[in-house]
Amino acid sequence: MLDLPAPTQLAVPAFILLVLAEMVYGWKTGRARFEGKDTMTSLIMGLGSTISGALTATFSIGLAYWVWSNYALFDLGAAWWVFVLAFVLDDLAYYWIHRMGHRMRWMWAAHVIHHSSQHYNLSTALRQTWTGQFTPGILFKMPIFLLGIEPAIVLFCAGINLIYQFWIHTEAIDKMPRWFEYIFNTPSHHRVHHANNPRYLDANYAGVFMAWDRMFGSFIPENTSEPCRYGLVTDLGTFNPLRVATHEWLGIIKDVWSARRWRDRALYLLAPPGWTPDGSRMTSDMIRNAWRAREAANASKAAD
């Protein structure tokens, strides 16, 4: 088994310094905003995520290695180009894990934590889930292991991918050069992703390369006439990390328990967040459709 460093662990001191730098910059210029309790919750979620990940890593790494050592089609080794290939393929897998993290309530239950702050700053980047291990995200990476890339290489590339995504969690940077905005994920693209404006819901799932969003039809550019508002469609009313970490799981349990049909129980897990058998709550698609209808009605009124 290859022994590679853990990039995210090595980056922690830099994360802390950059959060502090953004705070000072925001205080001086007004281009970044923090709130004490929100920052505390974000950072505690990050710490908890590290601990929970360490406690359960054995299972997912074990599974990855079992698949790779028993079923890999090729032995690609550890040359530099394998790392490049792994990075690109892992980013593609990340896109789909992330997209399903928004489109399947089971996976949303873990991912919602990251979106639960109404602020958007570098501390938000560290607001990570404690329960990702209870979702099937690792399955999206299986094709990479089956291709013949060793899991340690994929894990290393995934760490680099997460480090890249740290700096895009800021309002302090407006837009990067056009060519950069076209190829890579940027603060502008990721602000759209974190926004709860109906126009921006469920968009820009990329980790590093925006190609995937353009390819799979999930790209929405930031519109300066509609500033992003951050948080959830129904924002949390607590800073308590335990409640933040578990609220959606509890919601799923209540709904599955009270469902009358097995089909509904399954859809409470597999359908998008907000799905109900009677349509009494709203999914992102329903929210966006309602917004479009209102915009059309307003435009029609204005034209009359």
Binding site: V19, M23, E35, G36, S123, D235, A290
Partner: protein, 146 residues
């Protein structure tokens, strides 16, 4: 993670949060304008004629109740959440417990992330709001403890 790393991480977290609270102080103050703006955003389909809504804002400006002009639309619970706002829309059928406290009202719902909202009100205001909630909702009211 070893104990030293864990302790160091916790210290760094508390220091950063403390600095954030000092550099960006917040006083949660709701105004009619802020309540209306946030309710309109949260309930866009009920935003028509919202300026005619009745609004009760707690004395500390930390929480408010907005009754929609059309009684059939229920009411909104609005709370200052740090420097942001959280809105909950309750219909007339939603569960709400209203408890009188020495300095106002405590509104309890089944919301896991916001089970209780406290409104600092004088006796007269608290009584008026409790009556209004009772008449517009199946809320249960309990008196303050002696």
């Amino acid at each position: 993670m070893d104990p030293v790393e864990l302790a160091g991480s916790l210290i760094a977290i508390f220091v950063l949060a403390f600095i954030a609270s000092r550099l960006f102080p917040t006083r949660p103050i709701l105004s009619n304008k802020r309540v209306l703006r946030n309710v309109a955003r949260f309930c866009p389909d009920l935003a028509d004629n919202l300026e005619q809504a009745d609004i009760f804002i707690g004395n500390k400006g930390a929480a408010a109740v907005l009754f929609f002009p059309d009684e059939n639309n229920g009411f909104a619970l609005v709370t200052a959440f740090g420097d942001r706002v959280v809105v909950r829309h309750l219909t007339n059928a939603d569960d709400l417990a209203v408890k009188s406290a020495s300095n106002g009202l405590v509104l309890s719902t089944h919301d896991y992330t916001q089970p209780e909202i406290r409104l600092a009100l004088d006796t007269h205001q608290a009584s008026a709001l409790a009556e209004r909630l009772s008449s517009s909702n199946q809320s249960r009211r309990t008196p303050a403890h002696a």
